[in-house]
């Protein structure tokens, strides 16, 4: 399998969206798209499957809520029963606010950490940036050159129709990262 890719740069998000949808409709394999900010509708145009991060968020939240409910019950009613205002030891209403906060905290941290782990990001990492201007005002679409449907001339003309500023061929590094 060839590791050659085609890198197309756009000035407007609408052009990127339309080009992504058109190229995918023609059967090309889209490696990735790089944008300065989250472009709504791009994940649909790229045909990405729904993110699994929402499930991480949900189960971390549930673990936070249920774990904290159990812990509060254990500390206040089992390990060292505490009499607060003459209320029963297993007073659920007083456990709810902390359980709620723990659910929010774990859901938040869990999602961010899972995202960092999946995208192999960590402090101090220097990711190769495909074009410095994708951090500012350019939109980049990367198409794989491996497929049988790939025809360089046809695709270059097609991308020009979507006002691509430049279309160039690149080679991916052995690790699969783009340079």
């Amino acid at each position: 399998m060839s590791d050659r890719v085609l890198v197309a740069t756009f000035e407007h998000e609408d052009d990127l969206l339309a080009a992504t949808a058109a190229v995918r409709r023609d059967g090309q394999r889209i490696v990735d798209a790089f944008t300065p900010y989250a472009v709504h509708g791009l994940e649909r145009a790229m045909g990405l499957r729904p993110s699994r991060l929402t499930w991480v968020c949900f189960f971390c939240g549930m673990a936070g809520a249920l774990g904290m409910l159990w812990f509060e019950h254990w500390t206040a009613a089992i390990d060292w029963p505490l009499d607060v205002g003459g209320k029963p030891w297993n007073s659920m209403p007083s456990d709810v606010p902390v359980a709620f906060e723990a659910a929010v905290l774990l859901a938040g941290f869990g999602s961010v950490l899972a995202l960092l782990a999946v995208s192999r990001l960590f402090p101090g990492k220097q990711p190769p940036i495909i074009d410095p201007r994708v951090t500012d005002d350019r939109f980049v679409l990367v198409i794989a050159q491996s497929d049988a449907a790939f025809d360089l001339n046809v695709i270059t003309t097609q991308l020009a129709d979507f006002r691509a500023l430049s279309v160039e061929e690149r080679v991916t590094l052995p690790g699969g990262e783009l340079q």
Partner: protein
């Protein structure tokens, strides 16, 4: 421009039949079980009034926050808002028609020293005057807002929308104070010796949640079978309304629990009376039911993104939320007026039929009075093209 295609004659007839049949049963019931009929009327008219007020609130909030996403279906909350004079008039009739139902009117057991303010505040003439003032203020401001929005269809002047931002700000300030007071006057005063400082926001949360559910149901209805919003109300709008419904369901639960927990924690007898009557004994399961309908179902069903973009799922959840809203109001009123045992029978069903029919008739009459889409609003293009993500 009048569009009569919004609702078919058969549907209009069904709404009228529901309203008249329910109304007749209630009229008969007035002689048999007057307290129970009145309680049903209070729940029903407060439900209807808060839907109308919620429509005005939705329109005002989106004007003030500079929103453009909702413009494609803005005529729905606007039509709800124009129901305010009639819904408010019905509310006044129900309130004044049986003022002795309010405990302070016959059963005053406070001492003048401690409760001097409460005694003055709940003086019947002052109380009734305030009710009229609330309804007049809401009807006037909401009517003004909607009339200017409709005038923009003809005049097209963007200054009408700009002015509506200022009217909306005024409405929101007036609404925040008066609705809080109205919920205290009309619902909390059923048990005049009980009080909760969260009552206003608790009523607000139920109101906005039910309004969103009704907007979802009406929008889905109006886009089905080639209705006037077919091709206008799209899945992006539905998705955002779903997010709001999910959020305000959680808000309702948050407020409900905050009110409950503060009272449970401090455990002061004059505050706990409300929850002892409702969570101990046969009302307990009804309260749990209201929590399931208003939060558990919408929360777990609407969490996944595809559910919020699915018309069938959203329609069902919205109906569940409306049932939950009725149960929530039922739990506020019935234990105070009818006592320890929940009752459900022909009178409640008749009142629900009457409420559903009247809401349908009033809404579609108001919706047909203007163009179904505010075609010359500057934000309409934005509303048609945005992505909810």
């Amino acid at each position: 421009m009048t569009t009569n295609a919004t609702v078919r004659p058969a549907q209009r007839r069904l709404q009228a039949q529901l309203m008249i049949a329910g109304g007749l049963v209630l009229a008969v019931g007035c002689g048999i079980a007057p307290t129970r009929i009145w309680s049903n009327l209070l729940v029903g008219t407060f439900f209807l009034l808060t839907l109308a007020l919620g429509g005005a609130l939705f329109v005002a909030l989106t004007y003030v926050s500079g929103g453009g996403w909702h413009v494609a279906f803005r005529r729905i909350p606007e039509a709800l808002a124009t129901m305010l004079p009639i819904a408010g008039g019905a509310m006044l009739l129900v309130l004044v028609g049986r003022m002795r139902q309010y405990g302070w009117h016959h059963d005053w057991h406070g001492d003048a020293g401690t409760f001097w303010f409460k005694e003055r505040w709940l003086t019947p003439s002052f109380w009734a005057l305030r009710a009229v003032l609330y309804v007049v203020l809401w009807s006037f401001l909401a009517g003004w807002l909607v009339a200017r929005s409709r005038r923009q269809d003809r005049a097209g002047s963007p200054s009408l929308a700009a002015g509506n931002v200022r009217i909306s700000a005024l409405f929101l300030a007036v609404y925040a104070v008066t609705f809080s007071l109205a919920s205290v006057d009309w619902m909390m005063a059923l048990e005049p010796m009980w009080f909760s400082t969260m009552w206003g926001v608790y009523n607000f949360s139920g109101m906005i949640q039910a309004t969103l559910a009704v907007v979802i149901i009406l929008a889905l209805f109006l886009r089905s079978n080639g209705g006037p919003l077919c091709g206008v109300f799209n899945d992006e709008h539905l998705h955002d309304l779903g997010k709001l419904l999910l959020g305000f369901s959680c808000f309702w639960m948050y407020i409900w629990f905050s009110q409950y927990m503060l009272i449970w924690y401090s455990n002061i007898p004059e505050e706990t009376s409300y929850f002892i009557a409702r969570t101990h004994g046969p009302w307990g399961p009804v309260v749990v039911g209201s929590i399931v309908l208003n939060w558990v179902v919408p929360f777990f069903v609407l969490l996944p993104k595809p559910a919020k973009r699915n018309g069938r799922v959203m329609m069902r959840v919205a109906v569940v939320v409306l049932l939950g809203r009725w149960v929530d109001l039922y739990v506020m009123v019935f234990p105070a007026t009818l006592g320890e045992t929940p009752v459900f029978g022909v009178w409640e069903v008749a009142a629900m039929c009457c409420l559903t029919g009247a809401t349908g008739l009033l809404f579609f009459r108001a919706f047909s009075a203007a163009a179904p889409v505010p075609e010359r609003d500057a934000y309409l293009a934005e509303s048609m093209h945005y992505h909810a993500g």
